[in-house]
Amino acid sequence: MTVAFALTGIHKQYPQFTLSDISLSLPHGQIMGLVGVNGAGKTTLLRILTGLVRADRGDVRVLGLRMPEDQVAVKADTGFASEDMRLYKSQTLRWHMDLIAAIYPGWDENYARDLLRRFDLKSDQSIGGFSHGQRVKALLLLCFARRPRLLLLDEPTTGLDPVARSEVLEVLSDVLRDETRSVLFSSHNTHDVEQLADSISFLHQGRLIASQDKERFLDDWRRIVCFGDYTPEWPEIAAARRNGSVLELKVRDFCGELPARLAAHGLTVQSVDPMRLEDIFVTTVRAGAPA
């Protein structure tokens, strides 16, 4: 299996924040959602992958090449858009498109025009006159139309109004249909991640606390509501909340025999439901343990 990127033992120290011992890889052609609260280290991780930040230690390989040593070759095949990346205000989108087209031989002008239409952007308008949503869409257009093998998107839907968010997600879904393209996108919006990603990684306080396939994530977790006085403290119970005789359990590594085991301890199981990704993420972060 070839990988789009592989991080091994990455460490980056800032005065107020440390990204510690990150080992993570993305198989070629897959989409990974990187979930974390603000300040979790998502942006730092993406910046290390793009060569904008040099890790203090650890090994970074992107598209089979070492970073930052081979960053020119890596960047030639990578599209990176970040929430805090800005285009030149005084220039038009067309000027930026021409600049990118001149640098990237894979620039697809027809696709760029299609994206202009779908994003409802005017190429002859100055970037300074764009709204936040239009600026984000312009950046994504510049990334997508160069047809990179790896897309690194930092919070691509943050701050967008519902219409702009839907347009971006729709185009992103189209881009992701291309199985030769790998994508890592960060978000604190778990709904977007749940909608698009093949695999999910949780980052919290600079540490990777979980990383696996989305389906496995969702299969492994259950919310169980039961009645009774006993409160189990078993390793698979990530969270337990009692309200009188009603006990709500959030369970990781769920297996079919658990309801019977709860019943054996005098608990009456009322419901066993799958959990949404957001709930899994919040429970994982609060539990402070690997999912």
């Binding site: 060569g51 081979d70 030639a76 285009l87 220039q91 640098i103």
Partner: protein, 226 residues
């Protein structure tokens, strides 16, 4: 060491030139106006012309640095540029050459214009050496400000260095007036490069070059570009 990505470096230089060419043209025009005043060779016009000339040169150097480097960081354009297929050395060279070109064009136009104004009008030719030393100071001050802008991210420090290096032109001119072999020949018709003038000019050029090389070394060791 990886080879330079010359086509992208050229693109980035052209980008900076395109971004600033209108303002630079305005500076050149103002420079030509000040040269016209100089060329009138009247005391009042010489005073206003030389003052305007120094203002234009200082403004040219400050504009190029603040717009292409400090603003680019402040406006978060740096992450966009560094996401293009370039290494830190490519970026440094693109910025260095881009800045030198945007500064050098008006600088050279005004320098040549000044020498022409001195040599072709009733102004005394002895002013040539003194003028070259003033231009040498502007070049050195520009290189100091450019080096700091590339190596230091603090906007406050950058503004301080930019202003301080340019303001030093006053004590520099005062210092020149104390050197008889330079000041004493200003009103004459002979162009005399005294040993003091040669030492100062050489120092200005060598220090400028060393600063730029040192900045490149520092820049290639930076660990963050955003």
């Amino acid at each position: 060491m990886n080879s330079l990505n010359v086509p992208v470096i050229k693109r980035l230089i052209a980008k900076d030139w395109l971004l600033f060419q209108k303002q630079m043209a305005a500076y050149v025009l103002t420079g030509i106006l000040s040269l016209c005043l100089l060329g009138m060779a009247r005391p009042w016009s010489f005073y206003i012309g030389s003052l305007l000339l120094i203002i234009v040169l200082v403004a040219t150097s400050c504009f190029a640095i603040s717009t292409s480097l400090i603003n680019e960081r402040k406006e978060h354009n740096l992450a966009f540029v560094m996401s293009l297929p370039i290494a830190p050395l490519d970026y440094y060279l693109a910025k260095l050459i881009g800045n030198l070109v945007t500064f050098a064009v008006p600088f050279l136009v005004i320098l040549i214009g000044t020498l022409a104004a001195i040599l072709l009008t009733p102004l005394p030719d002895g002013l040539v050496v003194y003028s070259l030393l003033i231009f040498g100071h502007i070049l050195l001050a520009y290189c100091v400000a450019l080096s700091v802008a590339m190596a230091v991210e603090s906007e406050g420090w950058n503004i301080f260095v930019m202003i301080a290096s340019m303001v030093m032109i006053n004590p520099f001119m005062m210092g020149l007036s104390q050197i008889e072999s330079i000041h004493g020949v200003i009103r004459g018709e002979a162009i005399i490069f005294s040993s003091a003038a040669i030492v100062i000019l050489t120092t200005q050029v060598v220090v400028s070059l060393l600063l730029l090389v040192g900045t490149g070394w520092v820049h290639c060791r930076k660990v963050a570009f955003y």
